[in-house]
Amino acid sequence: MDFWTTPLGWTLATAGAILLVTVGILISLAFLLLADRKIWAGVQMRKGPNVVGPFGLLQSFADFFKFVLKEIVVPAGADKVVFLLAPLITFVLAFIAWAVIPFAPGWVISDLNVGILYIFAISSLGVYGIIMGGWASNSKYPFLGSLRSAAQMVSYEVSIGLVIVNVILLAGTMNLTQIVTDQQGWIWNWFAFGGGLASWPTIVVMFPMAIIFFISALAETNRPPFDLPEAESELVAGYQVEYSSTPYLLFMIGEYANIVFMCTMISLLFFGGWNPGFPTDFLDSWPQFLANLFLFGVLFVKIIFWFAMIAMVKAFVPRYRYDQLMRLGWKIFLPTSLVAVVVVAAWRVFAVGA
């Protein structure tokens, strides 16, 4: 075991962990993408993709090969380097955010004690891929789409940040593992339900905060009903108009990785992460690996649940108009979450005690 503590061993172990997480996410993305289309189809009483493989399970892989084998078209007059850099940035940023996500107790690549800030920093960079792609295309629709998207993502980041501050105040830490551990035990310990019986009245604030986080996550990832950057009725496909083949695929994978990431965040921050909602003392007698696998399964189910919610929102809700989107972000979510921060902070100081 000594080898794993040497610099070389540490590098190899970390690289292995990163590879495992990345490949794991990529493979789950393939099926989640299919699930997204299937749910969308189900709501509209269609069948969805059902030709490639049993129940269309291999559809995403067929799409993958189709994308990869097509020609990469770079428009004339495009800024070639920035044009090709933009999807890469989106793709990479969507994956490095997963570095601080704890999948089960101890199953985390980097257990930063400013984990939430790291996530916030990375997600605030996500806008660059879109804005660079839109500008470098040297075309009107992509540019308009990317400007919209930049304004939208910057706006909703504010409310996401303030919502997260509420969780940080209740948990008293920015370490994600610690935040999830704080929610263990019964279901009322989850932060969406106030974070424990001692501070149950905060449910009045925290449950709406969880909903605001969910809606802001939709806006942040440019999902319907907030998919204005790529509103097909007015901007064709927004910043993606000029993209084809693998660069487009990178944009799409990055987008879906961000969506799944947001599902994971809402599960970790508000809905107990890997805690199933009842005490898990019976796991003490299990082997460590099996216990962790069980807890990871719990987190996985929650992620799938939130992904299904996001997929259904896409099918149910009509697209927002741009001024309504901005109104929702700045005039409703921002003041609400700001008041919530004051209330939760006051509760922490005067009711729970420092």
């Binding site: 920093a121 605030s124 806008v127």
Partner: protein
């Protein structure tokens, strides 16, 4: 060893990025290089053990300030020929400013190298090694320096109000959406049933 490699790589990227900010011909590329510089500076903060500052640098500068830079630079119609026209004219001034900055930096580094000013001061209280970055900063920021901290907040608030005052215009004849009124509208307010006698048609005054 890993730390050493990381430091030299990040420092090199920071310096080269900074150089390219001023030499890049396309202003958008300049901003992109600036972002890279910010980012590697954040990496240097991480190496120093100041992870909170690093994250704040990325959130505030890269995530917000540089996005606005990029916004402005992309929207501006920059004429490169006209930009270069003044180059020779402003060169002497630029050299003087750069020279003063360089001299100051050399002086500071000399003083630091000899342990001058740093050796004289007792320095800040040694941080508690157990406390995390955030905790250590929070403990001083909200106790010893709370008035300065609040004053900084007020300065930002004034700047924000100033920006709003400068840009807010209430134009007449602009239709605005009043969501409360829209939602509160019911069938009785929205429509009225008129009984029109057969064969006479609808006159304009009936509709008012």
């Amino acid at each position: 060893m890993l730390q050493g490699i990381a430091f030299y790589v990040l420092a090199a990227v920071t310096v080269i990025g900074g150089l390219l900010v001023v030499t890049a011909r396309n202003p958008v590329h300049s901003v992109l290089w600036l972002i890279l510089t910010f980012f590697s500076a954040a990496g240097l903060f991480v190496l120093l053990g100041a992870e909170f500052l690093a994250m704040l640098l990325v959130v505030v500068y890269v995530g917000a300030v540089a996005v606005l830079f990029l916004f402005v630079v992309m929207m501006l119609d920059v004429d490169f020929v006209r930009l270069r026209e003044g180059f020779a004219k402003y060169l002497p001034l630029a050299v003087i400013v750069a020279g003063v900055l360089l001299a100051e930096m050399v002086m500071i580094s000399l003083v630091v190298a000899q342990g001058g000013a740093a050796a004289a001061s007792t320095g800040p209280a040694t941080p508690n090694p157990d406390a995390t970055n955030v905790e250590a900063l929070g403990r001083v920021l909200y106790t010893d320096y709370v008035y300065i901290f609040q004053a900084a907040g007020i300065v930002l608030l004034i700047a924000m109000i100033g920006a709003i005052v400068l840009t807010l215009r209430h134009k007449p004849n602009v239709k605005r959406q009043d969501v409360g009124r829209q939602v509160g509208r019911d069938r009785n307010k929205a429509m009225e049933i008129k009984s029109v006698p057969t064969g006479t048609g609808v006159k304009p005054e009936d509709l008012v």
